[in-house]
Symmetry: C2
Subunit: 556 residues, 2 copies
């Protein structure tokens, strides 16, 4: 096993597309700070999330387990109380695990109650926060409607804004995610028509700089390095509402927007789930060029701001001498359609949604040989938990964690038995799509399996699959799922899916090492089934003969 | 929903073959008391366990979930701490759940510690005892060898024997499961050569009458019916060691033993796992006629004794007026090869191993029309948890419980959407079979899928499947798993297996009703993604417009 890593800074952006970075080839968006990190580390070009939606994707990141294994199938579905988290694994290895920002974790309140665990005990709090010790938890969605708020917590960000003199009770809504119109009025950031106007907040007080400041404060605390730590710095942006403060709001315009990846052909007899998705409001909205020309410049500006904040953070780390002992990971929980394929949001399996940026800077000398390289191995979000456990100096408990450590790849090794496919899942049971398809909850599920070329999407509920050939059709415009010519490819991909679906995922309470110890143990504990006269027992003293006399009543 | 049932007596025998009862057609073994129960209730002729081995099968009985779902893959693999048990469900419905006898439950000690649950708290004790409140826990295997005891608990049975004046520290081993030879010496019950000699114990003190007495004492306690209860009366016998006290030991002889179900053809190019099983000591032993002629009469005698004890128990219930308000279930956790197919023990999927007897007496008038009938629907052990929950008056929480209530069948209804296949699993990772096949732990797994005619056994690890046609080959002597003529049957059965393997089994922390409530909820909590100018919002006041003025710095 390689040397351990002292500290890990695990940075996640929300809804950041893999191809909206300079180093991944965006033509008009430059991200020099993230590019610099990539030049010092390794960039993974085939990294996929286990579900293209915040909550489920993150529960996979934070447990190292597939969605079908941890069961938090969709946003706000609780992570069941028995699941072991990254924090549990790291603490067992002597490393703390802190959270600054978003997790989208929903606590299993029923489970906690059933097990008698007070939610405000140390263990209860960790179970409620996906295993992290919370420095700051902010999921960045402080909306309110006729039925009340989306998130019933107290917003640390709103508290911060008030401390800075903002008068609003909900500054997230009235300042950071509202825009100032030219007439001096303010309107909601939900109205994309106006989102190229500046956010109604001073730039240093907007969400991304605020969280960066919180992270620097945390890192700068006296005694911070007394114990090894992982800090999950989890940003809220560039996730919608696509509102950005001045001067960023003016940095990009319609001329910087790349054309949508879509074709009229996609609307011709589309797969039923794809069709239902295209009918949703967000998809129809992002199919309009005027929406794209408003939303995408804002989205790009949010990324630009994020990159500048990375510059601020990396400069701090360099000056504080932390680059020598801190692994830095930058990734995202999923992408954003932005009008590609006539869709908005994520929730489906085209690369713009399910593929993520992933940059890992490993400070260890073992990684020197790969600095600045990219790696095209098939990587899954669940691999990070495994990587971090190994970095903390523990063997990956592969009876629990389904991901694989990326350390060999970071260190220039090419494991011969690397995975052949990545898996991603989508539960759309609570969506408009399920409603319009009249799909029962349990059948409103999709599975993606991708082998680097072929991408199969299986749909439950008796629907046909989708199939894309990313070699001949890298833009995924041609669904071959019902084309008779591709039956053998579909079958091969289904074989992969089914080998995966039969996997052992719940034997989490006993390790392989313990199984080894159990093998052949029973006879040595006196369980001697199959003997006829004892001559079958080679080992002396294995069979214990009773020492008592026969009872008279048995001899009568 | 039908009326509730006041009390449930859930009787399980261990290793009782489905076809070793009078009412299931055994030619030489008569079981009038169990037959009488069958005549008052319903007998299920196609009931299958979810794993033909004690611990895993029972964890499925006690959770209502498949082995792949609960993860207790084999004996002494812990049931992970988050699993919801029958006891949890029943208590939530106002019914207590008591245990008298065996569960083969292994507590998830690591999980309890991780969650900070003291094992001796009420919740910790229930988690350690598979959800039951323990009247008496005795797994009936109090052996000891050079490495110490198999079971480190204190044996209630040994305590009982000592209270009756038996001098041995371990009366289970020295009396109840030892035999008295004619010369006055005593030998171990493991030596099958001698097991037609009487057990070294007085019949009323042997395990089956002892547990029956405990059950009657429990039922007779003052105030017992203050609250509804389920009592799991879980016998140890006729599980090996096949030792029975006088006079039962003399009731059956070689002339009562039915011929083995096997053919020389089965040894011709057998499936690798089947071949490895045939090589084990217990299989070689039970393939010998002299072993069968010793073991089977004892096994039959243990069942005869059990039936007599059922007579004692049912008489008590009748005299106590309990037949009017007590559902009585009699079943087994799996069968016993007894030399059929050249095998001993269970651990594989021929009917003699994986099919179980199941008799349900339902006191409710709704069941009057079906009394004495048999039912050939495909039934799984996991159905009992669902049945009991419904009997207790609660809807079956089918996001947790994978079995289905048998109440409709008991009440003469024929649900149109009943299951098409039953599933059973086997993890042989810690066995000699895995060792001789050099099979990695995770690949040492088998899945059975049976549709009432075709039985497919899938083996992980790159091995071929087995296939039996129980219509043309009811004795399962001809493995068609590699016969090219049956490719379409295999594919059809694999489709069933894979539909099952893709099932939703871990979304246990949120019910379907809660999902219903979530549908379309976000906009009413202020999440309004996809708006361009607000004209898309039909509902008035859905979109909250900020009330604050624009900040001057945003307007400069």
């Amino acid at each position: 096993m390689p040397n351990t890593v002292k500290n890990i800074l695990f940075i996640m952006f929300d809804q950041l597309r893999w191809d909206y970075l300079g180093c991944t080839g965006h033509p008009t968006l430059k991200t020099p700070h993230l590019d610099r990190l990539a030049s010092k580390g390794m960039r993974f070009t085939n990294a996929y999330v286990q579900s293209p939606i915040c909550g489920s994707s993150r529960m996979s990141f934070y447990t190292g387990r597939y969605v079908q294994s941890h069961g938090a199938q969709r946003n706000n579905f609780p992570l069941k109380v028995g699941e072991v988290t990254l924090g549990d694994h790291l603490r067992a290895a002597g490393m703390d695990a802190f959270l600054i920002g978003k997790t989208h974790m929903e606590a299993d309140a029923e489970g906690l109650e059933r097990l008698g665990i007070p939610p405000d005990s140390v263990i209860g709090a960790r179970l409620s926060e996906c295993g992290f010790d919370v420095v700051l938890r902010d999921d960045g969605l402080w909306t309110e409607g006729p039925d009340g708020p989306y998130d019933t917590r107290v917003s640390p960000y709103n508290t911060y804004l008030r401390s800075k003199g903002y008068p609003a009770e909900n500054g997230w809504s009235e300042n950071a995610n509202a825009v100032a119109l030219e007439n001096g009025e303010v309107t909601s950031g939900w109205f994309m028509k106006y989102i190229n106007r500046p956010a109604n907040v001073a730039e240093p007080d907007s969400e991304t700089p605020w969280l960066t400041g919180q992270a620097i404060d945390f890192l700068d605390q006296p005694g911070r390095d007394d114990r090894p730590w992982l800090c999950h710095l989890s940003y809220i942006k560039p996730h919608w509402p696509y509102v950005v403060p001045a001067p960023y709001n003016e940095m990009f315009g319609p001329e910087d927007v790349v054309p949508p990846v879509r074709s009229e052909d996609e609307k011709n007899d589309p797969h039923p789930v794809f069709a239902a998705y295209m009918e949703t409001l967000v998809a129809r909205s992002f199919s309009r060029q005027e929406v794209r020309e408003k939303a995408i410049p804002s989205y790009m500006a949010l990324i630009k701001q994020a990159d500048d904040q990375m510059g601020r953070l990396f400069t701090y780390l360099e000056e504080a001498g932390r680059m020598e002992n801190t692994m830095i990971v930058v990734t995202s929980d999923h992408g954003d359609y932005l009008g590609d394929h006539w869709l908005g949001e994520k929730n489906f399996f085209h690369d713009c949604s399910v593929k993520i940026p992933l940059i890992i800077y490993d400070p260890r000398p073992e990684a020197d040989a790969t600095r600045g390289q990219s790696c095209d191995a098939l990587v899954e979000a669940i691999d990070l938990t495994a990587t971090f456990i190994e970095c903390a100096g523990k063997e990956v408990p592969d009876h629990i964690v389904e991901g694989r450590s990326l350390c060999p790849l970071l260190h220039g090794e090419a494991p011969g038995d690397w995975r052949e496919v990545v898996i991603s899942e989508m539960d759309y049971s609570t969506t408009q799509m399920a409603k319009s398809l009249s799909m029962p909850h349990k059948d409103a599920r999709l599975f993606m399996v991708f082998d680097g070329r072929w991408k199969l999407v299986h749909a439950e509920g008796g629907l046909p699959p989708l199939l894309f050939d990313l070699h001949d059709d890298p833009d995924e415009l041609k669904d071959l799922g019902r084309d008779p010519a591709y039956e053998s490819e579909r079958r091969r991909m289904y074989d992969h899916l089914h080998a995966w679906s039969r996997r052992l995922s719940q034997r989490t309470a006993i390790s392989d090492a313990k199984l080894d110890a159990m093998q052949g143990k029973y006879p040595r504990q006196g369980v001697l089934l199959g003997l006829y006269d004892g001559s079958e027992v080679q080992e002396e003293n294995l069979c214990k003969v009773p020492a008592v006399p026969a009872r008279q009543d048995t001899l009568d």
